[in-house]
Every structure is written in structure tokens, then in C-alpha cells.
């Protein structure tokens, strides 16, 4: 069986676009794990809340960019409050307690969304409706824009981590929480801040994804699961690894959908997960030593 080159190229573009949004979700998840050893099972629900906040803002103002900004800020503040009230008291406890806590938060957020916005999907109007010719396809510019924006947000965060006082605080806390606090770094607030940043990145993905797949109250679980796979494959807590893993898995899924149906192509990510756990249990890329 031979597959035409143009189809492979189209799937490459698709894979990259999907991979960048997934990378944006996974970056926040891996960052939160890396700094406080908490697997945030409510992360996908922050994507969902971000999407709804964006949809509501667009309905009120008609401005996509304002909606993106509002969603990021609102969900970041919400994330900070969530961390300070529910996760901070559990720091250093058995991982099971934080898993249960974040799982509980996830359920509460979903039911809240159902109560507040109802069961039907909301579609966000894209800010850019043009298309360009990609072989035999009319490919929407907006999809390319989401990839570029996701990359820009991740890149901006990377620069923030590399330069300046707060970047040093976050990296020091990731490497050695106890020594960081002994050096005067307010570790509880660094945790809250990082959770807020992760939540803001999740909200941005929710708004960017809105025009592509719509926003529903139960979309969170899928995002959490996919981001979690990416984070495990990339190495828990390893930011660069997660970004590569997100792109890798999305590309493999895109290529797989050339030969099987897209619903079956999802299996590829589980295959990658299982192979990773079997042969490289600490992730494909050497994880950040702590």
C-alpha cells in the first residue's frame, strides 16, 4: 500500500498543529508535577473552564483576543485560589491524597460547568477565517495560528524561566524545595504562582481549541488523559521532554489516521505510553535530575 506524499505532508501539518496545543496543556501539567509532585487530574477541566470563560467573553464583547486574555487571567487567579485552599495543605502528603483531591476538584468543576452552561457544546468564533491551498485541501489559517500562538506562549514562559528572579525561584524550588526555602525563597507562594501559570496556559489552550472542537463541560477528561500520557512519555517534570512528546505523539496519530480511522489512531498514543513505560520508565528524554 502506498500513501501519496501530499497526504503525508498534510498529516504532518495536522500533527504539528495538534501537537502544539497539546504541548501547551502538557507544559502546565508537567510544570505543576515538577515543582510540587502533584499530578493535577483537574488540569483538563481548567482547559474547559478557560474555554467557557473565553466563550462567555466573546459573546459579551465579540473580541477573540480580549476573550483569550480574560480567560487566561481569570483562570490563573482561580488556579491560584484553588492551589492555596486545597493543595497547599496537602503538600508532602502521600501522592494518593493529592490525586484524590484533584480528581474531586475535576468532578466539581465539571458539574459546575454543566449547571452553569448546560450540556451542549459552545463554539468559539475564530478571529481569522481565511484559508490557504494545501495540495487538494483548503487549510484554515486559524489552525496554523493556534500552533504559532501555542509555541509563542511556551517560548515566552521558557524565557521567563531562564531570566529574572522569579525564573530562578521556580527552577531552584523544582530542584530542591527544602534548600530553596532555606535560602529565603517563599516556596508556598512559588507553588501557588506556578499553579496559576499552569492554569493560565490551560485556559489559553481552551480558548485556542474552542473554534476547532467546541467547548463542552466534559471535554476536560480527554485533555487530562492526553496531556498525562505526554507528560509520562516526556519524563515527569521535564518541560522540554513534554513538548517533544506532545509533537511526537500527535504526529504519530496523524500519520496513523492515514491508514486507520482517526478514532482508532488514538490507540497510537497508548502504544507509545506502554512502550515508554516498558523500556524507558523515566521518559523518553532524560528527566531533569532533582
Amino acid at each position: 500500500m502506498s500513501i501519496p506524499l501530499d497526504q503525508i505532508l498534510i498529516q504532518t501539518v495536522n500533527g504539528l498543529v495538534n501537537g502544539m496545543i497539546l504541548a501547551l496543556v502538557a507544559s502546565g501539567l508537567t510544570l505543576i508535577f515538577g515543582i510540587m509532585d502533584v499530578v493535577n487530574f483537574a488540569h483538563g477541566d481548567l482547559v474547559m473552564l478557560g474555554g467557557f470563560t473565553g466563550a462567555v467573553t466573546i459573546a459579551a464583547t465579540g473580541n477573540f483576543w480580549l476573550a483569550l486574555l480574560v480567560a487566561v487571567l481569570v483562570i490563573a487567579v482561580f488556579g491560584a485560589a484553588l492551589q492555596a485552599t486545597t493543595l497547599r495543605p496537602l503538600l508532602g502528603r502521600d501522592p494518593l491524597t493529592t490525586i484524590l483531591a484533584t480528581f474531586g476538584i475535576s468532578l466539581v468543576l465539571q458539574k459546575y460547568a454543566l449547571w452553569q452552561w448546560g450540556p451542549s457544546a459552545r463554539r468559539i468564533q475564530e478571529p481569522l477565517t481565511g484559508q490557504f491551498q494545501l495540495f487538494y485541501l483548503q487549510y484554515p489559517w486559524y489552525r496554523v495560528l493556534t500552533a504559532v500562538l501555542s509555541a509563542a506562549i511556551i517560548g515566552g514562559f521558557w524565557l521567563f524561566l531562564r531570566h529574572g528572579k522569579y525564573g530562578i525561584w521556580i527552577r531552584a524550588t523544582m530542584q530542591d524545595r527544602i534548600m530553596a526555602s532555606a535560602m529565603g525563597i517563599p516556596v508556598p507562594w512559588v507553588h501557588t504562582g506556578v499553579f496559576a501559570i499552569g492554569a493560565g496556559m490551560a485556559a489559553a489552550s481552551g480558548v485556542l481549541f474552542g473554534p476547532l472542537g467546541g467547548v463542552t463541560q466534559n471535554m476536560g477528561l480527554d485533555f487530562t488523559l492526553r496531556a498525562f500520557i505526554v507528560v509520562v512519555v516526556g519524563g515527569m517534570g521535564n518541560l522540554g521532554g513534554s513538548i517533544f512528546a506532545a509533537i511526537l505523539i500527535s504526529l504519530l496519530e496523524a500519520y496513523a489516521s492515514l491508514v486507520v480511522s482517526p478514532a482508532q489512531a488514538v490507540i497510537v498514543s497508548f502504544v507509545v505510553l506502554i512502550l515508554t513505560l516498558l523500556f524507558r520508565p523515566t521518559g523518553l528524554f532524560v528527566p531533569t535530575p532533582k
Binding site: D176, M179, A182, G184
Partner: protein
Amino acid sequence: MLTLTEVHTYYGKSHILLGVSLEVQPGEVVGLLGRNGVGKSTTLKTIMGLVRPSGGHVRFEGREIAGTAPHRLAHAGLAWVPEDRRIFRLLTVMENLRTGLDRPGMTEARRRELLDKVYAHFPVLAERRSQAGGTLSGGEQQMLAIARAMMLEPKIILLDEPTEGLMPRMVGQIREIITLLHQDRVAILLVEQNVPLTLDVSDRVYIMEKGLVRHHATAAELRADHAVIHQYLGV
């Protein structure tokens, strides 16, 4: 300045400190000697707020500090140089120093002054300022750990086995830096296995055994009376 009264500390169910009492005056160098596992490091961790004591009092400048968050203690004037150095391995030397420098109330001039001071004492840190902390040798990491603590401009440094595993030449440098901090009127609570060094740089010495302070004397007295050292430390 720093007073511990009948401090009890547990790790899980094991009782590590069974009522430790000691004090450090401003600008004083106090040695804390004892065999492995008698609770010397735990004493320092308890003071720094890293382990919460189950009983007794830890007072710093008259204020009860047991249970205070470590980052507040760091700003109040306590610094900790741990036994295993705990350099931030992926941060550069400069970034390691900045963890102590980037704090409220710092001026640019003061930062410059502090950096110049440690670079003058530890020229190798200036050379390697852009290198990752994890790439330094053991001795260089120890210097970085002490320099990093100095960035906090502490009133007291809790120094845990600074000469452990170092070459004799490096031990001499550690001795110099302790003397220098002493001249700057920084108090030091020094945990050591190196008895001659401790007796040499300290004003007073406490000897611990099984979670308790068993003996207390001036360093001069201990230098004259080796029987005590032999009794508790077997050297």
C-alpha cells in the same frame, strides 16, 4: 542570640533529639561535636525550621521561632549550609548566589558589594559564574554553599560538616573563611567531625551523645583536657 531549651525532635516514630539545650551569643563561633547519628544535623535542621520540634523552645533574638517557615527565618538572619551542600545543580554559580541575593530591600550597590566580597574570597566562583553548579568539584561546591549562605547577610550561619570529604588544602580554606566570618561578627554554629579544626576556630564547644548535650566547655579548656574528647568521641 540563639537559644535552644529542652528541644525534642522526632523523625516519624524515632526520637532523635531528647531535650537539647544550647546557646550561641552574637558573633560567637560555637562547635557542636559528636559521633555520627547523635543528632547534630537534626539540631541544625530543627533550628532552621526544616524539622518541627515536638517540644521545647527555639528562640532567636528573644523570639520563639519553632514552627516558623524556613524562608522567614532566612530573612530574619539565619542561614544553613547543609552537610551534603545541596547546590542547585542545574542553576549556574551566579544563579545559585542570586537565590540569596534577590530578596526584598536589596539595593544594586549592596548586591555588588556582597558579590565582590565572595568573589574576592573565592576567586574560583567568579571564574565559574556562568557554569552549572553541578559541574563544580566537591570543594568548589562547598565554597559555593558557604558563599550562597553569605548572600543572605546572616547573623548566624548553621554550618554542617563543611570539611567532610575535602582535600587538606581545602580544609585550610574553610578554616580561613570561618575566621573571616568571625571577624565580621557573624555567629557560627559549627557541626564537625574534625576535632582539631573545631577546637581551633570555636570559642565554645558542646559535645552531643545520643540526642543530648553531654558536655559543654570552652575550646581552650578542651584543648587542655583531651580526656573529655577521648571519652565522648574516641579520638
